[in-house]
């Protein structure tokens, strides 16, 4: 009984205490107790997988237990483990197959039968496990074919034999059907075999045709699953599907629609979407609507046959889906309109049609549209109303004005509407409506609206500027934007002179905060003095965030022009007030005249000033992001032109970007150090050239590209042009990296693809330069490849984050036309792109590097980062390649350097602790050696050692500290973990155990 309780409610912290007791119970003579013990362990596995990892062998024993119940219980654990990692348990496939064979063959005791079917749920569980194991794995799947065939056959046979016995028939049929369904599922998820597929298809047919509604449902579900692999099957059941569509039961209908969604193509889209819309209009439940609307929008975008249909469908989607739908839908729709297709006239027609249809919709009286739909309408009208011949902008404005004054419209939508009006104003020659509108809204209580109105007012006073700001149909043209916000410099200086505190980057403030918190810990009574100084510092941050970046860029502004292409699609800038932002920015940054005007606005509208600044800060951060996105592509483009000057320039640009991204995250000290680097390299350049020659000799047979590069850089040295510094840096980067790669290169000689691979590695290594000089990094590991390209990755353990870099290189040396890397989102990680490190040194056409910084969202032992790469070679179409990288907890652990007193106070403040004894192997049964292992393998910081006890500290990035106290007794190491995070100690403990066992 106690064991049942254990497996139901059990706190994680108590596991170490009871674990040995339960392990003992695994050997108990009574089957029921063994079974319960296994289930209790299953519970442990669910809540804290790491603590039971060492008893996996016992699970195996349980799997082979002579009692069926115990075996069945262990299946749950296996199901879960296999789900997490199927490759680790392939060797068990044989045992599972044997068990299933025995079960299907009726070798179990009779009391396990359920209406004369042997242990149906057990069968289902086994089939599921097999399905997981056999997925995409031919060899494992082959083992299963027999038993699957057998169970399919049995399942059908049973139901025929018992056909006579009408009483039990239904029951058996149902359970049997459940098994059959699982069989079919398994057959289709494992590596396919034609015979089995045929049989499974037959079964599905029977399901679908069954008069029993539940079976029909199952049949449809199976069909939906199967259809992805084999669309022809749908053809066989065409008629049934059509019948199901008109079925009275909405659930069946829904399942059928799901099925149709999978088989939609360009031909049948109209019908299917129509059916979906019909269903949509009937259903009321919000969840269904959201789901279905998303699907329709996706299909419509993919397969739309013509413009009119597309617009109408989207109109229907917007009006039904209303405000509950996913925000991506309107965004995608607008992007589609703005970016258009290849054909210009087609685009115009589409836009024209959209505008016309919206105008007619707006004409209708007393119709209420969802806010999102109105927003879409106002954007489209604002952008494309000029396409209309008949109606003048004034008429459109009047319509929009009517909406603006209506009470039913939310303030967010009003912002959209006002933006549209602003866009239309330059083309409206004289409009009283606009005048009235300005008058009305400049006194509006809503500050946002008021700001917009003021902007409109000032813009109207300067028509020329307005026209240049709001050009016709330029929504996706590139805007030239002064990203440095240098116009704010004056403002910053003024503020500074008036006594405002200089801007401190975020991290710096945090550090101060931290240090002050620590002070708080020591002296609990010193509260008042620290907090006062603190708030004083924080308050001006809102204003000066933007300006600091500008100040920073002013430094670098000497080197390059501040032009950066920004993606001008406005919806990227968030929903609310996208236009004002554009205006503000464009107004500020395009030319000199707007600047004073803007500042007038700033001063005159006191209320909006703070808001304005905030919005600029916001834009700034968004720009930063966009910049990062764009940067990688920019670099590649620049680097491809391998003239000396451009190379040098490209390098400076990349330099600048790297520095900029660092401004946000790392200390400013680092940036100066990078600045100094070139100089030092330059001074040692004579050595470099000498080495250079040496490598030239040895690498002569490696292909011309390298040669070119080296000679190129030495030329640069001689020329003593302005580009000296960057090129020197580049050169030294090559030489620095070459020695380490040298051995690799030698190995590379034996393979046919030397030229490419050498070039690849060299360029990779050079891109490594900056990071490796400061941080530890892992070796280059190839994560995936095919015949044309290979993808390798390495990790860089930076102080503040984990950087993962992927580099895509083509084996053939051919040009990679475009490469795109996408990381699939995972719940455990937070991933940000770090484009700065793509050095366009050599052969950039065949190599692309992607760098991401990874942060852990919550602790875990091992995670998988997967994604895919889209690439395009010279004259082929794009190919997709999947990859994955394993990340372990250790990648995120950094030493925490604190003093013993700090340790003491921190120790007391942490609530979560875990104690465990770990056995050490003979070789290291002494304190120093154990300590060394921990220090090296886990990157722990040794705080102090007192006798046979020691204190260690580390932190999990970004900043979760964990403290370890340990003591050595003979060959046992008593570890005591404490942390502010509840799960971290467990995971660390597990890592410690692993490390100690390994060494």
């Amino acid at each position: 009984m106690a064991l049942t309780v254990v497996s139901q409610i059990f706190p994680r912290e108590m596991i170490p205490a009871v674990l040995p007791l339960i392990e003992d119970k695994l050997q108990h003579s009574k089957e029921i107790i063994r079974r319960k013990a296994v289930l209790a362990l299953y519970k442990f596995h669910l809540i804290a997988p790491n603590q039971v990892q060492h008893i996996h062998i016992k699970f195996r024993k349980a799997l082979c237990d002579r009692d069926v119940g115990v075996m069945a219980a262990s299946l749950h654990i296996y199901f879960r483990m296999i789900k997490e990692n199927s490759s680790g348990y392939k060797d068990l496939t044989g045992s599972f197959v044997t068990i299933l064979k025995q079960v299907v063959g009726g070798k179990l005791p009779v009391d396990f039968n359920y209406h004369s079917v042997p242990a149906p749920w057990l069968q289902i569980q086994l089939l599921r496990i097999l399905g997981l194991l056999g997925k995409d794995d031919q060899r494992t799947s082959e083992l299963m074919y027999d038993v699957l065939d057998e169970s399919l056959r049995r399942a059908e046979l049973n139901h025929n034999v018992t056909y006579g016995n009408i009483c039990t028939w239904f029951k058996i049929q149902k359970v049997q059907k459940a098994i059959l369904f699982e069989c079919v599922h398994t057959v289709y998820s494992i590596y396919p075999k034609s015979e089995l597929l045929e049989k499974a298809a037959k079964c599905i047919g029977k399901f679908v045709l069954s008069p029993k509604i539940n079976l029909k449902y199952l049949g449809l579900k199976a069909l939906t699953y199967v259809i992805q692999q084999d669309p022809t099957l749908a053809l066989q059941h065409q008629m049934t599907i059509i019948e199901c569509l008109d079925h009275p039961d909405p659930i069946i209908k829904r399942e059928t629609l799901e099925l149709l969604y999978r088989i939609t193509n360009a031909q049948n889209i109209t019908v299917i979407v129509q059916k979906m819309l019909e269903y949509l209009q009937q259903s009321k439940e919000e969840y269904i609507i959201v789901n279905l609307v998303g699907k329709i929008a996706e299909l419509a975008e993919k397969y739309a046959p013509d413009n009119a249909w597309f617009i109408q469908t989207m109109n229907a989607v917007f009006s039904v889906g209303g405000d509950v739908m996913h925000p991506d839908i309107p965004n995608n729709f607008l992007r589609l309109l703005a970016e258009g297709f290849d054909d210009e006239t087609e685009d115009q027609q589409l836009r024209l049609y959209a505008v016309q249809s919206y105008l007619t919709l707006l004409d209708a009286e007393n119709v209420f549209y969802p806010q999102k739909f109105l927003q879409v309408m106002s954007w489209v009208l604002g952008e494309y109303a000029y396409l209309l011949d008949k109606e003048t902008p004034e008429e459109v404005i009047t319509k929009l004005y009517k909406l603006l004054t209506s009470d039913l419209v939310s303030s967010e939508t009003k912002a959209w509407l006002l933006a549209a009006v602003t866009k239309l104003t330059p083309r409206a020659h004289s409009s009283n409506v606009v005048e009235r509108l300005i008058q009305e809204f400049t006194v509006s209580l809503d500050t946002c609206m008021r700001q917009h109105a003021f902007e409109l007012k000032h813009l109207r006073e300067n028509v020329e500027l307005m026209k240049s700001l709001l050009p016709v149909d330029k929504s996706c043209e590139d805007l030239v934007v002064d990203t440095s916000l240098s116009f704010l410099d004056g403002f910053v200086a003024e503020e500074l002179s008036q006594g405002a505190a200089p801007y401190k980057p975020h991290h710096q403030r945090q550090e101060e905060k931290l240090s002050q918190e620590k002070v708080l810990n020591f002296e609990p009574y010193g509260l008042s003095f620290s907090s006062s100084g603190f708030t004083g510092r924080q308050s001006p941050a809102g204003i000066s965030l933007g300006s600091d970046v500008s100040g920073n860029s002013a430094e670098t502004a000497l080197k390059e022009t501040n032009s950066l292409k920004l993606d001008g699609i406005k919806k990227l800038w968030g929903k609310e007030g996208y236009l004002p932002k554009k205006e503000g920015k464009a107004g500020d940054e395009t030319e000199a005249p707007p600047v004073p005007q803007e500042s007038i606005i700033m001063e005159s509208v006191d209320q909006t000033i703070v808001k304005k600044d905030q919005s600029q800060v916001l834009t700034q951060s968004k720009e930063e992001k966009e910049k990062q996105l764009l940067a990688s592509s920019l670099f590649v483009g620049l680097g491809s032109e391998s003239t000396i000057n451009l190379l040098g320039k490209a390098d400076t640009v990349s330099h600048k970007f790297r520095r900029k991204s660092k401004v946000k995250e790392t200390k400013s000290g680092e940036t100066t150090s990078t600045q100094n680097m070139p100089c030092s390299y330059f001074s040692s350049s004579s050595d470099v050239t000498y080495e250079d020659d040496y490598y030239l000799d040895t690498l002569q047979d490696r292909g011309d590209k390298e040669l070119n590069k080296f000679s190129l850089s030495s030329e640069l040295l001689d020329s003593e042009s302005l580009t000296e510094l960057p090129s020197a840096e580049k050169l030294s980067s090559c030489t620095e990296s070459t020695p380490s790669l040298f051995t690799d290169n030698m190995e590379g000689l034996h393979t046919p693809s030397t030229v490419a691979s050498v070039a690849n590695e060299i360029s990779l290594a050079s891109s490594l330069l900056e990071e490796t000089s400061e941080h530890m990094h892992s070796d280059l590991v190839e994560v995936c490849d095919n015949e044309t390209i290979s993808v390798s990755s390495y990790k860089i353990w930076k102080d503040d984050c984990l950087m993962v870099t992927w580099s895509v290189s083509s084996k053939s040396g051919l040009e990679l036309k475009s490469a795109n890397l996408e990381i699939s989102p995972t719940e455990n990680f937070k991933i940000t792109e770090q484009p700065g490190c793509c050095l366009p040194v050599i052969e950039t056409e065949s190599i692309k590097t992607f760098q991401y910084s990874v942060q852990m969202e919550k602790p875990f032992t091992e995670g998988n980062l997967s994604g895919f790469i889209n690439y395009q070679m010279m004259d082929t179409h794009s190919v997709q390649l999947e990859f994955s990288v394993n990340l372990s907890l250790l990648d995120f652990i950094r030493p925490l350097k604190i003093s013993t007193e700090n340790f003491g106070s921190l120790w007391l403040s942490f609530a979560n602790d875990v104690k465990q004894n770990v056995k050490m192997s003979e070789s290291q049964a002494a304190l120093p050696s154990a300590l060394k292992t921990l220090q090296q393998k886990l990157r722990l910081h040794v705080v102090e050692i007192i006798g046979n006890e020691g204190l260690l500290a580390c932190q999990l990035l970004p900043s979760i500290p964990c403290l370890v106290h340990f003591r050595v007794h003979g060959d046992v190491l008593a570890l005591w973990f404490r942390s502010s995070c509840s799960t971290l100690p467990d995971y660390l403990l597990y890592q410690c155990q692993k490390v100690m066992e390994e060494s």
């Binding site: 289930l39 119940g69 579900k221 039961d249 969840y287």
Partner: protein
């Protein structure tokens, strides 16, 4: 994976509820009323599986009592459907012709039976004799006292 197990009568009164995933107490009643409403609205000819929000309901009616099981979409509906029947058969065997009153007055025992059969959202035991074994021992003990 089973999310919850409910026994509700036609009047909408919950007789037994067991959650295998944490749901706030205040939200439970709300969920239960919604669930029973959607079950009651369906006729006999309609399918016993309902897609409800992001999970599925599988229900079976025994006289005035509904048994509703909420599962996520990896679960085999038919297996659960039959499992409900298995559960009722076990109750039937223990109480010999089980009725709603039996369940009301012996809620502890029903819970013990359910705990034997479902654990952490997984079906762990379906063998009738084994499900009842611990309960019978308990009964014997209480008799001897």
């Amino acid at each position: 994976m089973i999310k919850f197990f409910l026994m509700v009568n036609k009047q909408g009164q919950t007789r037994l509820s067991k959650y295998y995933e944490h749901v706030e107490i205040s939200k439970r009643t709300l969920l239960e009323t919604e669930v029973i409403k959607s079950c009651l609205s369906r006729s006999n000819e309609q399918c016993s599986f309902i897609e409800f929000k992001d999970f599925k309901l599988i229900y079976r009616q025994y006289a005035a009592l509904f048994i509703v099981v909420g599962v996520n979409d990896t679960e085999n509906e038919m297996a659960i459907y039959e499992f409900i029947h298995n559960f009722v058969e076990v109750l039937d065997e223990y109480f010999s012709r089980v009725s709603e009153l039996d369940i009301m007055f012996n809620l502890d025992k029903v819970h013990i039976i359910l705990d034997e059969m479902v654990l952490n959202g997984c079906i762990v035991e379906t063998n009738r004799a084994r499900i009842l074994a611990p309960l019978l021992i308990l009964d014997k003990m209480s008799e001897s006292i």
